[in-house]
């Protein structure tokens, strides 16, 4: 399994033909207390770089973009009852959705953990 990061502060785990997407610890820290996560429907097609989910704090709503294109095969229903998981476990239990990988080449431009850490450092 390998993990990639985007400049929009999403992480993506790739395992075989499916990928899991969430937002990074840095992102949740910037957003503050998460009160609601709107997830894509299973079966929905998402396009790389386009809105796929929405994450809300009390005073802000932020779009979460799909890091790659694909079909949503599962969304994290635990977030419906407990959106705070995004704050407490952003890069594990607080994952957003899983999708099929349409085109592995789309992963090429993404960062690895070290590159992302440097990117955050530079902000």
């Amino acid at each position: 399994m390998s993990r990639y990061f985007t400049e929009d502060h999403e992480w993506i785990d790739v395992e075989g033909d499916t990928a899991t997407v969430g937002i990074t610890d840095y992102a949740q820290g910037q957003l503050g207390d998460i009160v609601f996560v709107e997830l894509p429907d299973v079966g929905a097609m998402v396009d790389k770089g386009k809105d796929a989910a929405v994450v809300e704090s009390v005073k802000a709503a932020s779009d979460v973009y799909a890091p790659i294109s694909g079909e949503v095969v599962e969304s994290n229903s635990a977030l419906d009852d407990d959106p705070a998981l995004v704050n407490t476990s952003p890069e594990e239990d607080g994952w957003f959705f899983k999708l099929t990988i349409g085109d592995k080449a789309e992963l090429d431009g993404l960062m690895d953990a070290k590159a992302y850490a440097n990117f955050v450092e530079s902000l």
Binding site: D33, V35, F36, E56, V58, P83, A84
Partner: protein
């Protein structure tokens, strides 16, 4: 005035610096600070505060079997309990009647009570919107008279009276623009709004089917005319501008902006939220505006009512007037005022109307109040209104710019509102903390974090209905709280200390929404 900060005084301490003993009471109340339970907790479905015939529905009714069998669950209170319940609730509210209410952009000015008396005259309050027009001539006359003065005061060509609030008026104006463009077969796609715009502007444009793009601003807080000109093109339908803008500055280049927009074939929408700064002195029509809504509660003193009802008539240029919504009033040469609806648009040359925005004629109850206000102030008074509003705001700006960061202080005088930022506050203290500290001083806070272009923005609008003494007390209080924020007074982070409630947990409210009462024991 004493300088409590220098002695290290904090709200929970007495004059000697000792923590005050907090004495619990049996009721939880503190003298005049009275908590009040919900009607669902104190009322019952058997109790009623009205005297009506106690007869059940007749068995031989005409309800076709749809008669209600199960209880609704609506609690009732007797009249004395009702009066006490709402009176107690009222005392947990801040209001203009209690003190200065410096919400920038919202314009909390005194609400004259004559307005209330007039709105309640039976000929206005007790008439039905669909009565034969021959029985409501006076009501139509009020609508028409107000419409006339709104046109005169703005230098425009026409006015749509039916929009129910400012945002509804914005929608009306943008729909007029879209209708006008469609009528000439011009499908433009983009509306330009400054970043400092009210959130309703982009929301309105998006609803009307437009893509929204930002207009760049200059460092001094105004529209960047050259950048705007560069962006204008055949895809731009309209430019939405607030003038005076939300940084409290007059857009000096307004006429040049309008000319450029018109040259590019687009229209100028002016958000009239700040018209109160220039009423009686400047007419937006002279600046090339095509449409502008007027919040009657801001400029013409109708009450805010805890969040509405508003009223948002939209004045229109000659180019847009033919597309205005139905219904409206029109006076014919014989002096008679008519109601123009779907059926008689032909007779009044208004067949291009984009349609109807609301069931009836608009906010009549606000029309009577606004007309009463306009006639009370008259031409000289309205001019004095905007002058005093601007004077009061500049007095606040210049009295506080030494202690609070005033990002546009060098851009010239402000109009009716002064803007400050949080630069210089001690680490960990924010605009929010300052605002809550102001609550303890007995003032409603200013508008916070708006506009977005100033970090930790505080937008202060005193309005013209404050005395110099009230302004001086407010300036003293804001100075004191600002000094505490700069000095890093931690007690601000837990303010307010003296309000009916301490800070409320908004995260809990949003994570586990409880939006209606449910009976204990019920799921």
């Amino acid at each position: 005035m004493s300088a409590p900060n220098k002695t290290g005084w904090k709200p929970a301490m007495n004059a000697d610096g000792e923590m005050m003993a907090v004495t619990a009471t049996y009721t939880g109340n503190r003298a005049l600070m009275l908590d009040e339970a919900l009607i669902f907790e104190i009322g019952s479905t058997e109790t009623t505060g009205v005297d009506l015939p106690d007869a059940p529905l007749p068995a031989a009714n005409r309800l076709g079997g749809f008669e209600r069998r199960d209880p609704i669950g609506l609690p009732g209170l007797s009249e004395p309990e009702t009066v006490r319940h709402y009176t107690r609730l009222s005392r947990q509210n801040y209001a203009i009647d209690l003190g200065l209410f410096p919400l920038g952009s919202c314009t909390m000015k005194h609400n004259p009570r004559l307005n209330e008396k007039v709105a309640r005259m039976p000929g206005f309050a007790d008439v039905h919107p669909l009565q034969p027009v021959g029985t409501v001539r006076g009501a139509l006359e009020v609508m028409n008279e107000l419409a006339f003065w709104l046109i005169e005061l703005t230098g425009m060509h026409g006015v749509a009276m039916s929009p129910k609030a400012g945002a509804h008026g914005e929608l009306c104006g943008i729909l007029c623009i879209r209708a006008a463009l469609e009528a000439r077969g011009d499908a433009r796609k983009v509306v330009l709004c400054p970043e400092s715009a009210h959130g309703t502007n982009p929301a309105t444009a998006a609803f009307a089917g437009y893509q929204v793009e930002d207009i760049p601003a200059t460092a001094e807080g105004r529209v960047d005319l050259e950048a705007l000109k560069a962006r204008l093109g055949p895809d731009v339908a309209a430019v939405m501008i607030t003038n005076p803008n939300t940084c409290g500055l007059f857009e000096r280049d307004m006429k040049a902006i309008s000319d450029a927009v018109h040259e590019a074939g687009a229209f100028v929408y002016c958000d009239g939220a700040n018209f109160n700064a220039i009423v009686g002195r400047v007419r937006p029509g002279d600046l090339g505006v095509d449409a502008m809504h007027i919040n009657l509660h801001k400029t013409f003193s109708t009450p805010h009512g805890g969040g509405g009802p508003g009223s948002g008539p939209v004045v229109l240029s000659e180019a847009l007037s033919p597309y205005g919504p139905l219904p409206f009033t029109a006076r014919t040469a014989d002096g008679v005022v008519h109601l123009v609806e779907e059926e008689n648009t032909g007779a009044f040359d208004h067949t291009q109307s984009f349609g109807r925005m609301t069931a009836f004629h608009g906010q009549m109850g606000m029309f009577t109040r606004a007309l009463t206000y306009i006639l009370s102030h008259g031409a000289d008074g309205l001019k004095q209104v905007s002058e005093d509003a601007v004077l009061n705001a500049n007095y606040i700006l210049r009295s506080l710019e030494d202690v609070l960061h005033a990002p546009f202080a060098a851009s010239g005088p402000c109009m009716h509102e002064a803007i400050f930022g949080d630069k210089g506050f001690a680490a960990g203290l924010s605009t929010l903390d300052l605002a809550k500290g102001l609550i303890d001083e007995g003032f409603h806070p200013m508008t916070m974090y708006f506009p977005l272009v100033v970090h930790g923005a505080m937008l202060v609008e005193p309005t013209e209905t404050e005395s110099k003494a009230a302004l001086d007390q407010f300036i003293g209080a804001l100075r004191s709280v600002a000094e505490r924020a700069i000095a890093g007074d931690e007690s601000l982070k837990t303010a307010p200390h003296f309000a009916p409630r301490r800070r409320l947990d908004e995260t809990l409210a949003a994570r586990k929404p409880v939006l209606a009462w449910s009976d204990p024991g019920m799921d």
